[in-house]
């Protein structure tokens, strides 16, 4: 087999009400985008547990993308604010673990923004492709 270029694996956690619906819209609108980010649907971005990110990275993901409703639009009022606070604190911890900034990303994407799903996944896939695989920190 010829040598293949590195293809990053991104785990995407999308909230049911906004970002997941947006990715559906991207599909029905036939917007082509990189196939590197299989989506796990969660009911709310507030369901995202920092352990999910750690576990994904430990088990071989090269990046994690979290998608939720814009501030003020959460179906459960406060879930996305909780997600944002967890994310900001998690990023500080991840940087101390030596995890590059581009690998873990939070995006607010509403149900009507299918093109934004396309743009974010394409952009993140490109960034991680140049960054290379996440080498688990075990030695």
């Amino acid at each position: 087999m010829a040598t293949t270029t590195f293809e990053p694996r991104i785990v995407a956690f999308f909230c049911n009400w906004c970002t997941y619906t947006a990715s559906d819209l991207a599909g029905t609108a036939r917007l082509a985008y990189e196939p590197n980010a299989p989506v796990i649907r969660v009911m709310c971005s507030g369901r995202f547990d920092p352990q999910f990110v750690m576990k994904a990275l430990q088990e071989g993901a090269d990046g994690v993308l979290i998608g939720g409703c814009h501030p003020g639009d959460c179906h459960y009022q406060e879930g996305n604010y909780k997600a944002l606070r967890r994310f900001r604190l998690l990023k500080r911890v991840l940087s101390e673990f030596g995890v590059e900034d581009e690998r873990v990303r939070l995006e607010w994407i509403s149900a009507s923004e299918g093109d934004r799903v396309q743009h974010v996944i394409n952009e993140m896939t490109g960034q991680l492709r140049s960054l290379g695989p996440f080498q688990q920190a075990r030695s």
């Binding site: 352990q51 990110v53 750690m54 501030p71 604010y81 967890r86 998690l90 075990r138």
Partner: protein, 325 residues
Amino acid sequence: MAQKPKVAFYWCASCGGCDEAVVDLEEDILKVVDAVDIVLWPVAMDFKKHDIEAMDDGSIAVAFINGAVRMSEQEEWVHLLRKKAQLVVAFGACAHLGGIPGLANLNTKQEVFDTCYRDVPSMDNKAAAVPCVESKVDGHDLHLPQFWDTVKSLAQVIDVDYYLPGCAPPPDLIWSAINAILTGQLPPKGAVLSPNKACCDDCPRKDTKPDKIEISEIKRPATHMADPELCFMAQGFVCMGPATRGGCGNPCIKGHMPCRGCFGPMDDVFDQGAKFLSAFASILAPKDEAGIDALLDQIPDPIGTFYRFSLPTSLLHRRKMGTPV
């Protein structure tokens, strides 16, 4: 006379506090000595490695090993004890989770050596000598153990039967663990020998916790005076209680200090630090990025705070090698 069961105590990278905890059994230690034959206890008695090597495999009933594993010599010892002992108990936070020495996983061996043997103000080392595995001193060959980049918990090196949590484990848990072993009333293999409930569950300040906590200022024991009755979290202190296993008897809270997390996570939690981070972030007051970041700036050392005892057993184990500090 029937032979008494043989027991070994060993220490790896530890402070000696876990051995002290055994002595803290007070008069009960005499009952232990009556019931068992201590074949190894470097901190208190004189035994050599070849004494243990000469024993039959499986002839030690139980080996209590404290401390994290960070050097080749410790690795050799724990493999030897695993072979000679029927049961191995990881004794204390360092053997269980990696512990305080495990915070060295934020650095490399080189960085640790540079700090310890070169940079600390108290160091006078003009020859720039650092420990080497092989060296010549006055014509003699000197061998020292290899020091690793990464500190490990005991279970990351050998098979462990039980875990006694705590920094150090409290005497009542030690006593009930020894009793359970002597009477054969043991829980399933791999169990942590302390109840699977949060530290908050037994907290003497539990009733003062409001239904909803909102933190707008993060306080530290070093810089703020805490109310002696109120829930620490409700006051804005980082208290690891919600993400920490209980059973410790809450000595820290009773001593007017927030929980530091030494008992490790409850069952089904993969990563104590991430779990605590999740709980703590969710009760912060600000909703916008700038406000959140300003509040988070009040935690000077997030990883050292949330992973104070559990960095080696966290999902990512260590700072990625080769990344600048």
